[in-house]
Symmetry: C2
Subunit: 392 residues, 2 copies
């Protein structure tokens, strides 16, 4: 296995109602990543793309072929991967395998979604196609319902009063919105107070509007290359240190493990093992905060905190820059946004820029970071992908 470097990055503004179709959204950030790498489209040997519901959003499947052609990467292999909200990170992991194996030297990885091309109620229906359609969706398990259930289960399992959890979850949202204010690409630029969160409309008890991430349009891209190639080209190589992917079945098959997410715990251990590190080595993490409760569950499942204690970290500022483990300094899914197929690629872009020290001007640089982690979960935990990145 060869070492794999992340070269250039591309990242669109995350937004509500993009005026551009996904082909253009994806092509623009793909070109941004290629140019940022100091390459030309003809240098790209293959393209991997995460996209969940292009067929619903725009009547467009197989988008990857059209994008490859659009950006002048003629006739290269172009593959679309779908793993619900984890689709983008799934594509990054695949790109890692393609390059690490020596199958290709230079691979473009992208992700795109235009979720707000759908009217919001329809988007809710389309999103939940990733949950079990036979037994669970018909009973009303859209995601706010599932994660609301996880929040109640979290309280019960760790003996935390619901009112306390509501306060903690408000802190999670407040922090994400605060950092998103410093991220020019974020979808939501709006300072929140704890009271704003606690007074926002109830969506699915105990989750309120400001405990839920928005629907988002956007795209992101990275170029992956072999270490040998990267060293010729780039003065600030960032490497993939480990990857992990795992699946789970429908909610009913996970019930004995909930509120912990088994696919996350399996995949993150794979990634730590591959990198030869432990959670203590991680200097910043972008994790899957589709709902505020998901942040707590993720931070514990990744090994940063004891189970049932992540709330303290948010309340005490230990998840901020300068804290024990800076989490979602991009604004996270909650405030940066969640353009499903793009989300994981955008997380890797964020971590790469952090490891390169490129975010000083934005006022949200995690200084001296050596290891970054991304965690992207699909549906009710049916898939999780983990990418560990290092500047070493």
């Amino acid at each position: 296995m060869r070492r794999v470097a992340v070269l250039g990055t591309g990242h669109s503004n995350y937004m509500f109602r993009s005026e551009k179709p996904s082909t253009e959204l994806m092509s623009e950030t793909a070109m941004e990543a290629i140019i940022d790498s100091g390459l030309m489209p003809g240098d790209i040997q293959a393209f991997l793309m995460g996209n969940a519901w292009g067929a619903f959003e725009e009547g467009q499947s197989t988008l990857q072929s059209y994008v490859a052609n659009e950006i002048g990467c003629y006739n290269i292999p172009a593959t679309r991967l779908e793993g619900a909200c984890s689709s983008g990170t799934m594509a990054v992991r695949e790109g890692f395998i393609w390059v690490a194996s020596g199958f290709y030297d230079i691979v473009l990885v992208g992700g795109v979604e235009r979720a707000t091309a759908l009217p919001t109620p329809l988007a809710t229906r389309v999103f939940v196609t990733c949950a079990d359609s036979l037994y669970e969706w018909p009973t009303g398990f859209v995601y706010p319902a599932s994660f609301g259930m996880l929040a109640h289960l979290y309280c019960r399992t760790y003996n935390i009063p619901l009112s306390k959890l509501e306060g903690i979850m408000a802190c999670v949202s407040v922090q994400s919105h605060e950092y998103a204010l410093l991220n020019p690409k974020a979808q939501i630029h709006k300072k929140l107070t704890k009271e704003d969160v606690l007074n926002s409309p109830m969506v699915a008890t105990p989750l309120r509007l400001h405990n839920c991430c928005p629907f988002t349009d956007g795209s992101a891209a990275i170029v992956l290359a072999s270490e040998e190639f990267a060293k010729k080209l780039d003065k600030r190589p960032v490497y993939i240190a480990g990857v992990g992917q795992a699946s789970s079945g429908r909610i009913s098959s996970q019930s004995a493990y909930y509120p912990r997410i088994r696919s996350r715990e399996v995949s993150s251990r794979q990634a730590y093992r591959m990198a030869g590190i432990t959670p203590e080595d991680i200097d910043l993490c972008e994790l899957h905060d589709c709902f505020s409760i998901a942040s707590l569950i993720a931070a514990e499942g990744l090994g940063f905190f004891e189970y049932g204690t992540a709330g303290d970290a948010w309340e005490k500022g230990n998840t901020r820059i300068g804290g024990k483990i800076p989490i979602n300094i991009s604004g996270g899914l909650k405030a940066k946004g969640h353009p499903v197929g793009a989300t994981g690629v955008g997380q890797v872009v964020e971590v790469t820029q952090q490891l390169r020290g490129e975010l000083m001007e934005q006022g949200r640089q995690v200084e001296g970071a050596r290891y970054g982690m991304t965690d992207t979960m699909g549906a009710d935990g049916v898939v999780t992908n983990i990418i560990l990145t290092t500047e070493k």
Copy 2:
């Protein structure tokens, strides 16, 4: 790169209106392939699955995770690939990379589609999401229209009278239906005469009903393993000798090349180069005959015949068992059926069984075959995947 073997295979009946949901359809053939390999579900390290439109057909995306759990392959990486009609073969190629690279030793690859869960007019609309949605679909380019256009272009390019081409295309359909009669898994068991084809209803000039493949439900699966592992287990190893994948853009970007399909010609040359062989070495081929004209274009693009001459081969029986190059001895997409996400995996199953000499009883064994080829094209040529298999 390690050599990769195809171990066991699984193949459902191809059918109209499956009573089973895709999860079950896929799980059954996945288990069939695992058992045929002499393995247990716990031996499977990863799962790749081709599926194009589960979200439309059953409101189910991310099917791969549910299938993995269903068959007892708990928490393994499970990845869905979408490349239109080529999705299944795309998954096979990916499985090849995963095993050849040493990333995994034993990978399950499957494909499933339940296209006839949709009413036929809606299926036509859903299928064409893989064609360009911005400029071409709105002008009426559903697939019968595109391939009708290719037929006219074929006549013009190679100076063949349309009436002659209609006769040739009828021969193509007649042969496929004849062999499908010998294939118990085929969707259509109905002998056709040339007259039946020529008198069937016109769909899109010059393509008549019996020049078009049906909508199909079905699934197929194979287990891939490293050579080292395969040798311990299997007395009849069949190996993947080469793979290829290429993309193209929308029809308008391919017009200077049509009726030839550039993605096919690029991907098949990759596969031949990897295997170190030429078209003359191929002993049988399963190719993408979504419409009869597509058979001719494919057989020429793969290098079996000079451009504009493939029709002679079908008319003279050179594409039959005992002929120069036996083609679609399964019945092909036309009569065996075309369950999109499963199609390419089903082709590999067919070729594997041929190379193992397992089809003698069915009366359609290509004796002494050493190299088999599968060709699976997506949409209007926007993607093609090629798998070369050998018993050597």
